[in-house]
Symmetry: C3
Subunit: 143 residues, 3 copies
């Protein structure tokens, strides 16, 4: 191993309420800035009512269907014990549990090994816009 690199960063992303925000470019930019070459990249969302997923980045209808699928699995009109924070809060926690809080993506030749159709998304589950914190971590070889 030529040059070992370990770096962390806290990214802040503003959401516009329920929906998908692609963060692939934000991740690429940070990896480029630290000259990550080969290793392991981890993305972690510091919240329990927003989450992460890697999904098809071509047709926006895919995200529309994904969101509707999540609504079906955790409907707002069901009675919840935890209801103090509004009808969208408990479904947000359920949707977070069913999707990802952390993603680990290998980096080869200076790039995340994402497939051609894979985009990394932050999913906002709350109705209102939020600023979300996403922790980034790289460990491996620098360029």
């Amino acid at each position: 191993m030529t040059k070992l690199l370990q770096a962390n960063h806290m990214l802040r992303i503003k959401t516009r309420g329920k929906g998908f925000t692609e963060i692939t470019e934000d991740l690429r930019r940070w990896l480029g800035g630290i000259s990550a070459a080969e290793g392991l990249f981890t993305v972690f969302v510091c919240h329990t009512s927003a989450s992460l997923t890697i999904q098809e980045n071509a047709d926006p209808n895919v995200r529309r269907d994904l969101m509707e699928a999540l609504e079906g699995l955790a409907p707002e009109d069901r009675p919840y014990h935890h209801a103090e924070e509004g009808p969208d809060d408990m479904p947000s926690h359920i949707k977070s549990m069913l999707t990802d809080v952390s993603l680990s993506i290998p980096v080869m030749d200076g790039r995340m090994v994402l497939g051609i159709w894979q985009g990394v998304y932050l999913i906002e589950h709350r109705t209102a816009p939020h600023e979300r914190r996403i922790a980034l971590s790289f460990i491996g070889q620098g360029g």
Copy 2:
């Protein structure tokens, strides 16, 4: 990089049957013991009928609703092909598949980057109490 640290540990947690057991403090204690400063922390559950999640740590009703949501997604009263180990076994595997077997949490300034409301939980899906093994791994900089 000043001092590279790589450490693993096997944690054992006793559950009381179906439900959430918070392990955040167990994780903090181990990270403190090895003087982890900056890097990547991974938690892995060595079972297929118990799993991990990071969820709201304030109102216990959140975990109650999460458990009921999981019961709804994998009901015990459905006919399963794999039924030899009791009605709670196959739903346990489904619930494990839908939640997390591994979590990767960046460590910054000697602490996991958990949000203020994020707790790390072991979810026991079987009706009977079990002792569960959870593998911990840290790689990064030591203090």
Copy 3:
């Protein structure tokens, strides 16, 4: 730390259409080939209509029930906005979102810390056979 090792590899797995393909041995073979001793192993699938899970490796009926559970959570006979790629495409994305795109498995004493009943599986969600790319990454101590 005696000898730091960081290695990546792209594995290719042929699937036979919808179903589980166990890849545990492929992973073991690669880890053995690079003499991984202690550290963190990550598996990442470069697709959005195939995914990963760690599940019971004994009774094949478990995988049959898991597949039926996924079909129930993302049925093909539901109307989807994204329908151009066939009735099995959008359900594949939903099933991928609900299962795992990446798995992080600690390695101790030269072996993945998998429990005795844990096998690592690639899940093909499309009806047709595909060749799937799976990125492997190890960082830690070499033997």
